[in-house]
Amino acid sequence: VENVRLLDRLSSRKAALGTLYLTATHVIFVENVSETRKETWVLHSQISSIEKQATTATGCPLLIRCKNFQVIQLVIPQERDCHDVYISLIRLARPVKYEELYCFSFNPKLDKEEREQGWKLVDLNEEYNRMGIPNNYWQISDVNRDYGICDSYPTEVYVPKSATAHIIVGSSKFRSRRRFPALSYYCKDNNASICRSSQPLSGFSARCLEDEQMLQAIRKANPGSDFIYVVDTRPKLNAMANRAAGKGYENEDNYSNIKFQFIGIENIHVMRNSLQKMLEVCELKSPSMSDFLWGLENSGWLKHIKAIMDAGIFIAKAVAEEGVSVLVHCSDGWDRTAQVCSVASLLLDPYYRTMKGFMVLIEKDWVSFGHKFNHRYGNLDGDPKEISPVIDQFIECVWQLMEQFPCAFEFNERFLIHIQHHIYSCQFGNFLCNSQKERQELKIQERTYSLWAHLWKNRADYLNPLYRSDHSQTQGTLHPQMAPCNFLYKFWSGMYNRFEKGLHPRQSVTDYLMAVKEETQQLEEELEVLGERLANLQKSQLNYNKVKSKQQDRSKQLGLSTSNNSLANTPQEYSNDLKSFPSRSPSQGDEEDSALILTQDNLKSSDPDLSANSDQESGVEDLSCRSPSGGGCLPSEDSGKDSDEAVFLA
């Protein structure tokens, strides 16, 4: 469709004219400006909603909201075209078969061996070995081979040595969806562990000997402690309501030596609504400070993030400081439980704060234990009530920790944002389906590529320059401040307003430091080379010509790298549309009236001439400054970077 206008959400005056293309996998908008031909690519699987608004004089507006928080506003001149686009997108954005998803057609031009290598990058057995398992207390169990007991669990599960198959099977029958207690994290320093399960089917009075034995076995696997914590991550009221349905929570009287604890994290429906409310705040056009803060508070989002963190902190403390093992569950044990276990692991073990370790963590606590990626993130058309930003919240918890511990993580914010992006993009197979079993049936590993390999290949982009493996923040357990430091939880504009570049700091400290570090590395190399040259020269005073010319080459190279550093000149756009500026000639005479009109003008709209003017100028600055900054800007769209995708344009 031609002559489509792409509106800038921040200032309605900045619209780009271009052509809209629909392909099998993407919506592509190409600007008409001949030199730049700026392209905006949106994956169909990222589309979360499409809204056709009332036709205006200029055309028919179409609003596309994406799962990675991009909002695209198009105006299509012809009503009919708009309707066609709308209908196509509705269908394209809601695939019904896995095979329709992008990962099955995405081809990064890797051969079979490289693809297999990619899938092998994260190996969970290796991870359990790293934790020191199997050992005297824990063993791998094949009780769930062929998914015989629990179809949402992995085939290989780690359980206490003293838990026989009989106990496991018995316990599984007493747990929702048969998700019996299994090991998530083991702390080899003190034998304390984190186990996970679903809720027990206790109803008001039911009990199960095997389940009680299972918990006993978990306690015995930690000889240093005479009790375990059982943490129910739901609000007490929710858990009690479940009892009426024959589910519920452990009765302390029936289980010997447990300490039971509720930690109120709300359910997926509350979280979905909370995000919705927060996004509405983010989408407000020129909100006042009060609108924004009030809306943010009203959404409850940060309160929920804090609840998840507090639960993680509680568990990490129990394991690290008290040396007590913990069993975590919620209802089904695949949402809140996954959040809490992974936050606790991240706090406890510095390995998970490395890039590789973080991939392992997601693979362990989310992918392998059957977090329902397909349902939660709506990859296939499904029940909208199943959709909820569960892993988004975990990712935000990590970001909040990064803000508090700037040196503790090997990766940077961009790493988190790209993982979030790909959880929804379906470009890689990792997060397809709802369980390991489904992925195996679909032969995901043979038919798609692994995200982890892709991220690992580009790991230089994701490094935190402040990370040093010998820094004190990278050792041992992290101890974040709990209450009363509420103010430590901040709104993450880098995520939720990530496409509104104008809102973010215009210069990135991370990128600047990365450039400095890169230069430092080059300098180190050069220093070595120069040192050698010098020694050679001193030894034999020959070959000077050659040395000279080479040395000149070197210095040229270095000069380049220095200019790479000049991030100070990053582009700037004055995106403040609040700022108003009347420029029509003053209406003469009656001064008070005109003054009044003027203020209204000030409040409502900015002057078109001026914004056009400022646009142009900032555009000039844009061009002149972007080149030296190199990778300075946040790559917003992965898809935009992968050149292979151009294939689909045709």
Partner: protein
């Protein structure tokens, strides 16, 4: 008056000091004329706390049996608690502190007693003189002149002795204009934009009154700053409503009929007690120890602090936009032209002028646009967030300005030569200091107090390399562009370095900062080494060649 009269108990032993995030320490408390000194006296790890009495905002006392407790709340927002054994000692100490922290004579303040322990390399009182500023200006334009009309502070008591005005306006006309402006603050040059020759002027409100008085000289003066055919903008920092109300009290605003070449824009920047209350509420919220996330955000919202930040920044951006993008000259004023006006003119300069983002340039900006421009520091900074005095003239105007600078610094972390610590230091010294820089309300008062002769300038101390190194931003790379900050709510944050400084653990953030410095330091060292080696190699090669040639 002798300070000794006020100090009934100069010393108390076995005092316990409590601070958030530190273990309680036992030690000795001493009171001197200007300081409260606490010393832990522990041999291994002696800890000393020196607190200026003038830094104390309020003091509370409590008794449990014979153990007295005083809670000291400081103007830099820190709160400390001292447990003092003995009711009498405690009462004595509390009343001494109360008396010493509320001395009403300026000449009794510490700066008049302070003797520097460092070598004075440069006299800060002479570092930023108007003549130097004018010299810079005259190298690019000859349309302006330095007027000594206010030499004896006879025309305008809150202006400095010399001001920069359009060349075509003589002193006689200036005198007439002064009669037409509130507090005689006639329009003067604030900033000259070299890029396009546009200017920013500042003044106070015109005294139009209800019957629309006019002053031909005033019109002529501000029109003299316009290029032929060009138009200018008047930014009134008050809402139209407030400006209209001001007419009843003899004030007002420029009316279109008399200023046809000017467009007036009203912004709404709050003043006085509204700002002070906002600060009090914000600090209360930051010190609140309750666990509830919702309450934190709603209290932050209710304080309106960030709303004020947003409004001030928006007005400053508007002024900068008029000058740089619209190519128009600007006149900024509110009522008196000593508060919101200065916030706008100084922030606009930070946006427009790269020089203001250097350490020296920023100091010069503070001197020009705040000290010389007659911001009444002594009145505004008499008390901070913990005071109960509620005087109309107390207001965190300067702190809001520093906060806005911090917001821009956060958005452009590589474009400023100074760091956050520099801004925090200025905040501290504006409220309590050993230096005379921020004493008095204007140049007139400062000259009467003979501050340059009797006290030390803050700049004499700061501009020594030992101190400067603490305030340098390791990420700085000169950026000659205009920097346009975002004023969207998502882009503005609470300035934790000020407001959460005493109630958040800062260890991990400090470590990160240190790491950053080390990365850059190591890079610079390597660079130096490589350059040295290269030079050595080059020299050896030339030697070689010469030998060869021989």
């Amino acid at each position: 008056m002798e300070f000794a009269e006020l100090i009934k108990t100069p010393r108390a032993d076995n005092v316990v000091l409590h601070r958030p995030f530190y273990l309680a320490v036992e030690g000795t408390l001493c009171l001197t004329g200007h300081h409260l000194i606490f010393s832990s006296r522990r041999q291994d790890n002696a800890e000393e706390l020196w607190l200026l009495h003038s830094n104390i905002d309020s003091i509370e006392k409590r008794f449990v049996g014979s153990l007295g407790t005083i809670i000291i709340k400081c103007k830099d927002l820190r709160i400390i608690q001292l447990d003092i054994p003995g009711m009498e000692e405690c009462l004595n100490i509390a009343s001494s502190i109360e008396a010493l922290s509320t001395l009403d004579s300026v000449t009794l303040m510490y700066p008049f007693f302070y003797r520097p322990m460092f070598e004075i390399i440069e006299d800060g009182w002479r570092s930023f003189l108007p003549d130097q500023e004018f010299e810079l200006l005259s190298s690019v334009t000859d349309e302006w002149r330095l007027s000594c009309i206010n030499k004896e502070f006879s025309v305008c008591p809150s202006y400095p002795p010399v001001v920069i005005v359009p060349k075509s306006i003589d002193d006689e006309a200036l005198r007439k204009v002064a009669m037409f402006r509130h507090g005689s603050r006639f329009p003067v040059l604030s900033y000259y934009h070299k890029k396009n020759g546009m200017v920013m002027m500042r003044s106070s409100q015109p005294l139009t009154g209800t019957n629309g008085r006019r002053c031909k000289e005033d019109e002529k003066l501000i029109n003299a700053t316009l290029r032929p055919g060009k138009r200018g903008y008047i930014i009134d920092t008050r809402s139209l409503n407030v400006a209209q109300q001001a007419r009843a009290k003899g004030g007002g605003f420029e009316q279109e009929v008399h200023y046809p070449q000017w467009r007036r824009i009203h912004k709404c920047i709050e003043r006085f007690n509204i700002l002070q209350e906002s600060l009090i509420k914000l600090v209360e919220a930051c010190n609140d120890q309750s666990h509830n996330m919702d309450r934190w955000l709603s209290k932050l919202e209710a304080s309106n602090w960030l709303t004020h930040i947003k409004e001030i920044l928006t007005a400053a951006c508007l002024a900068a936009q008029c000058i740089d993008r619209e190519g128009a000259s600007v006149l900024v004023h509110g009522t008196e032209g000593t508060d919101s006006t200065l916030q706008v003119t100084s922030l606009a300069q930070i946006i427009l002028d790269p020089r203001c983002r250097t350490i020296r340039g920023f100091e010069s900006l503070v001197v020009r646009e705040w000290l010389q421009a007659g911001h009444p520091f002594q009145q505004r900074c008499a008390q901070s967030a913990y005071s109960n005095s509620k005087q109309k003239w107390e207001a965190p105007v300067f702190l809001l300005f520093l906060d806005c600078v911090w917001q821009i610094l956060r958005q452009f972390p590589c474009s400023f030569e100074f760091n956050e610590q520099f801004l925090i230091m200025l905040f501290e010294h504006a409220y309590a200091s050993q230096f005379g820089t921020f004493l008095g309300n204007n140049e007139n008062e400062r000259s009467k107090l003979k501050l340059p002769q009797k006290t030390m300038s803050l700049w004499s101390w700061v501009n020594r390399s030992e101190e400067l190194s603490k305030f340098q931003n390791p990420l700085f790379e000169a950026n000659s562009l205009v920097i346009w900050p975002s004023v969207a709510p998502q882009s503005l944050q609470l300035w934790e370095g000020i407001f959460l400084r005493w109630n958040r653990p800062s260890k991990f953030l400090d470590e990160a900062h240190e790491e950053m410095i080390n990365i850059i330091k190591y890079n610079k060292e390597l660079q130096a080494k490589v350059n040295a080696l290269r030079r050595q190699l080059a020299e050896m090669e030339t030697d070689d060649r010469m030998q060869e040639n021989l």
